[in-house]
């Protein structure tokens, strides 16, 4: 690929950063952009991201994620993803007990080490403790999904609980997230499309990261 083309694509990076940062939010509010316009810009942003990925690939260049800040926008949740996540967790709220207990049971079965955090509860299949604890977890995840941009605020009390009282090793959050994904796949079947899977995986990673922010 020509150097000129690569330069042109890299020149689009400020646009990409602009579209996701606070500057974009201010711009779109101040200029009263319609939802349709904002969506079109965000679609362009998705295309630009794809072009950037293509340019990187064509050059077989490995970009260090930390040093090239614009790449971080690729991993952020788009508006469509946030909407999808919110809708899915809203649907799961009425069956929070079933979803939560199922995910926990899967985690205890596949990763027995996780049981060490639950010696104070009866975690046998069908137990009242399992249902109530599972329900708490799913409702917290659903609450966060209502406004993902406010996750740190929503989770502040849970952050304190996990950091100073529960002190669950953060590696376990990944194990529960995986089991939660399997539970959702079993519950939603074909509706758990790759796009939904990716969005929820990203959300659960973000959730876990926020939850462990106060650990050190």
């Amino acid at each position: 690929m020509s150097v000129c083309l690569q330069r042109d694509i890299i020149a689009l990076c400020p646009f990409v950063q602009f579209c996701w940062g606070p500057a974009w939010k201010r711009f779109s509010t101040q200029n009263n952009l319609s939802d349709a316009t904002k969506e079109r810009v965000e679609d362009i942003h998705t295309l630009v991201n794809a072009a950037i990925k293509w340019s990187i690939k064509a050059q077989h260049v490995c970009w260090d994620l930390s040093s090239v800040g614009f790449l971080s926008v690729v991993t952020m949740l788009s508006k469509k993803e946030k909407k999808l996540i919110k809708e899915i967790w809203e649907r799961l709220t009425p069956v929070a007990e079933d979803i939560g207990s199922d995910a926990l049971l899967r985690m205890f079965a596949s990763y027995p080490g996780t049981k060490t955090y639950f010696s104070h509860l009866d975690i046998s299949p069908g137990s009242a403790h399992l249902y109530s604890h599972g329900k708490k977890i799913v409702l917290a995840i659903a609450e966060g999904a209502k406004d993902i941009s406010q996750l740190t605020v929503t989770l502040a009390p849970l952050q304190t609980l996990h950091a100073y009282q529960l002190r669950i090793d953060p590696t376990n959050f990944k194990l529960l997230s995986h089991c939660m994904l399997v539970t959702l796949a079993c519950y939603l079947g074909e509706e758990f499309t790759p796009v939904a899977h990716a969005a929820i995986d990203k959300y659960l990673s973000a959730f876990a990261a926020v939850l462990s922010e106060k650990y050190r």
Binding site: K53, K57, H60, V74, R106, A109, L181, V182, G189, P194
Partner: protein, 147 residues
């Protein structure tokens, strides 16, 4: 060498019997690439893999998915010596394709989730646990020649 009880063998074969290799295989890499886009690094010769639509409709990815599941079939049939059965595969992935072994684990997770979408409640917590134990053995075998 992993030791399997009769019950575990039964469970693993039971899961595998229900998997339509063509159906699940066709969408396997699409799921992996959409969920973990950075594994695109191996797919330089696969044409358009830059948008979700392109990934979902890429025939080379679909074909590769079926090849992977056909290889998994070999593992199911050689449960007592997956390491031996996969030695040359492991070498190829290490020396020629240069795959990060962490990515075997990521693909294994996608396989489990694809199967969960099909099997639904039949993939109970116990069945999932046994199936994942099998996939861990497969992943370890794929890593065995990385020296």
């Amino acid at each position: 060498m992993v030791k399997w009880t009769e019950e575990e063998r039964c469970i693993i074969r039971g899961v595998w019997e229900k998997v339509d290799i063509d159906e699940v295989g066709a969408q396997l890499w699409a799921r992996a690439l959409i969920v973990y886009p950075w594994i695109e690094r191996y797919f330089g010769s696969f044409g358009d893999t830059f948008t979700t639509t392109a990934i979902l409709n890429n025939p080379k990815l679909a074909a590769l998915g079926k090849i992977v599941l056909a290889a998994l079939d070999t593992a199911v049939k050689n449960m007592d010596n997956v390491k031996g059965a996969y030695a040359s595969l492991s070498r190829v992935h290490y020396e020629k394709i240069k795959v990060d072994p962490e990515h075997f684990r990521l693909l294994a997770e996608c396989i489990t989730i694809s199967i969960a979408c099909k099997l639904k409640a039949e993939l109970s917590p116990q069945v999932q646990s046994t199936w994942q134990k099998f996939l861990s053995a497969v992943v370890d075998s794929m890593r065995s020649q990385y020296k």
